[in-house]
């Protein structure tokens, strides 16, 4: 049980796909012009991740080793098609904003990576927990990046006015350069916090010994 919780929490911080592993970066940079878009992309990716991990884990004994990567990609592409078509029908506005990056979930290395590294070796329930952890980790990273870019780029967060009229929006934050620079600074910040926390833990170990 302990290990199950650990595997779940791993995706949230220590092995956060965006900030620590640096995978799945194309949608991360492209769609995070606002917090809502970030959350939507995160949830769509999480859905594909959980479903494909489940199926891969169920079929792991049937899929021959040599053709496993193409088989995984076809499983993933199926779920991406489902997300794409249902989003187009139910949430057409959001679908237009996310555009090209919904079909590109097929080649998101996060999804294929979890299938190959985890789901193809572990039981179904474990794979679902792992996929959920990674999905939530991916979603909060996109939400944070989207919220920061929306705040400085328009003065709003989730569509609500946060910074008043005195604030002149930095338009660069909603453009491509803003995405790269914000993510660079965030990766640095997360690294700084991790280094600091590890130092604290080590000092506590020394004190108790």
């Amino acid at each position: 049980m302990d290990r199950l919780i650990k595997d779940f929490l791993r995706g949230l911080w220590d092995e956060n796909p965006v900030f620590r592993l640096l995978i799945g970066l194309c949608p991360t940079l492209a769609v995070t012009t606002s917090a809502v878009n970030g959350v939507a992309m995160g949830l769509a990716t999480s859905f594909v991740l959980v479903c494909s991990s489940t199926i891969v884990s169920l079929l792991k004994k049937i899929i021959p080793g040599k053709v496993r990567i193409p088989s995984f990609i076809i499983i993933i592409a199926t779920f991406v098609t489902i997300v794409d078509l249902s989003m187009n029908a139910l949430l057409p506005d959001l679908h237009r904003v996310l555009g090209l990056f919904i079909p590109l979930i097929v080649v998101n290395c996060l999804v294929l990576g979890r299938s190959e590294a985890y789901a193809s070796k572990m039981p179904v329930s474990w794979s679902i927990i792992d996929a959920l952890g990674m999905g939530i980790g991916f979603t909060w990273a996109l939400m944070l990046l989207g919220a920061i870019r929306e705040l400085f780029g328009t003065g709003h967060v989730f569509g609500y006015l946060v910074l008043g009229d005195w604030f002149t929006p930095w338009q660069i934050m909603t453009l491509p350069p803003g995405a790269f620079i914000t993510l660079g600074l965030l990766v640095g910040l997360i690294n700084m916090i991790t280094i600091y926390v590890h130092k604290l833990v080590r000092q506590q170990h020394k004190a108790t010994n």
Partner: protein, 191 residues
């Protein structure tokens, strides 16, 4: 003239990496040395050129006549995966040294979203066959250009005094941001 504009637009104005955010993973992963990044760029360009023409043919001669547009993603990704396999076998036979230096990144071209993205864009924008071919070449050249530029800067950065938390990925993203800022200067070039 029109074909030249398609090329210029794909290389500079809508650069695949710095403006459209496609292919960021190899952009960050293989940009530590100019030489390997150039090899990676050329291999990707080759796959892009072949994939652009083949996916155009598949779209217009198989998916549309038989009414199978919902199979688009599955069909395109299979074409790209088999193209990459072909390049891999070809390189393995003709140039074993280059093959070895590219290592794991060669099969990973399959999951480079710039290639699937390019195939989907050329269908979306209803390009003709020759436009698709030029668009594929332009996309590949643009990708190689961005990759080599970043690799050149990162080689110099080895000797710079970067704050510890920003070392590696952090500073690379900030440099990419500055490059992207420079490329946004091209935005008025083609309307």
């Amino acid at each position: 003239m029109e074909l030249f504009l398609v090329f210029l637009s794909a290389v500079l104005v809508n650069n695949f990496v710095l403006v459209r955010f496609l292919g960021i993973c190899p952009f960050m992963g293989v940009s530590k040395q100019v030489e390997t990044s150039l090899g990676m760029g050329l291999a990707t360009t080759f796959v892009m050129v072949v994939a652009s023409t083949v996916s155009w043919l598949i779209q217009h001669f198989i998916l549309e006549p038989f009414g199978l547009p919902y199979l688009q993603y599955v069909a395109f990704i299979l074409v790209i995966a088999s193209m990459v396999q072909l390049v891999e076998m070809f390189l393995h036979k003709t140039s074993p040294t280059l093959y070895r230096s590219m290592g794991i990144f060669l099969p990973l071209i399959t999951t480079n979203c710039a290639i699937l993205g390019m195939a989907l864009i050329l269908v979306m924008r209803a390009f003709t066959f020759s436009q698709s071919l030029i668009f594929g070449i332009g996309a590949g050249v643009g990708f190689t250009l961005a990759l080599v530029l970043l690799a050149g800067i990162r080689e110099e950065l080895e000797f710079a005094d970067v704050p510890a938390p920003l070392r590696g990925a952090g500073i690379a993203f900030i440099i990419a941001g500055l490059l992207s800022l420079a490329f946004s200067g091209f935005s008025g070039l083609v309307s």
